[in-house]
């Protein structure tokens, strides 16, 4: 951020009075431009014993496999955002959504929130941001070709929890992701 979005003056980067964090502040109109983490919402779409993954057509991690997910937009709910991303990236419709994994990624100012969901039917296809979309059995998961640690960790949790049919919401610290990443 270089200029004030309200009055076009060059902004300063300083701690405002009564605050304790560096902010972009406009010395002209006094607007304080807060910046906050963004939410990535997505789905783990399930069809019987299989899960649906998308191969990314865009950077970062083009060519790697992911769950359909993306930035939550203003005006929508978490569920709506996750379902929309699933429709956009996998042309797939889901129901029975249940919040499942939450991951903090403070180094990139993101929070991942992924839902378990049932595929409504087998009418799916690669959306604009996907090269390929397909169903995988647990034994087929391309663990070394997953796009992000959040995706691998969600799949690990899912297959572990499926054995007991108990799917607690998991809000795990970054350490769990790092451990996964190292292993992968």
């Amino acid at each position: 951020m270089k200029f004030c979005s309200q009055c076009a003056s060059p902004v300063e980067h300083r701690i405002p009075e009564g605050d304790n964090r560096l902010r972009f502040v406009c010395p002209q109109c006094q607007t304080i431009h807060n910046q906050n983490p963004r939410i990535i919402a997505g789905c783990l779409p399930v069809w019987g014993e299989q899960v649906l993954l998308c191969r990314r057509a865009i950077e970062p991690r083009r060519g790697f496999w992911t769950l359909p997910a993306g930035f939550m937009e203003n005006g929508e709910t978490l569920e709506q955002a996750a379902a929309r991303e699933t429709l956009e990236e996998a042309c797939a419709r889901v129901h029975g959504m249940q919040l499942y994994t939450l991951f903090d990624l403070p180094h990139i100012n993101q929070v991942y929130m992924l839902f378990r969901a049932e595929l409504a039917d087998l009418d799916f296809a690669a959306g604009e941001e996907s090269l390929e979309v397909r169903l995988f059995d647990e034994q087929q998961i391309p663990w070394s070709e997953l796009a992000f640690p959040t995706i691998g960790r969600t799949l690990e949790c899912y297959f572990a929890d499926r054995a007991t049919q108990h799917f607690p919401v998991r809000n795990e610290p970054l350490a769990a992701l790092r451990a996964h990443h190292k292993k992968a």
Copy 2:
């Protein structure tokens, strides 16, 4: 948003090519300025049978009772944000945090995420944004003087779940809040 924060040109409000939503777009440097929902993180601090509430010293809802909560900042985790808000608003330290309620407020582009937590000790006090901080038994909760529906709904869930000592993470639709608000 009136001006581009990168180059100070007046922005346009239009749907970018390949997109399907209105965005602020800079016709000069082509930057697309996405706007996304913000997270409110907070705690339900518990001390034995009692819960801690803060009476707001600031608008909106000055004078009404709330749980310590506020905007999550860049560079922190959900838990860190919730603990920081609890320290700032109630000068209280907590441990044993467990994610508890999530509420979508799409009409104001917010997602509430509240944690159950144990108060570390009775060394709490009103922070700068609070007029008063105190512990309440269930029978003392000022239901008609709560600041926001999210707060009342979280307290309702907590007292109901406490009876069974089972506290599932609750991601409830807005309808539950509206029903609560009408009742209150």
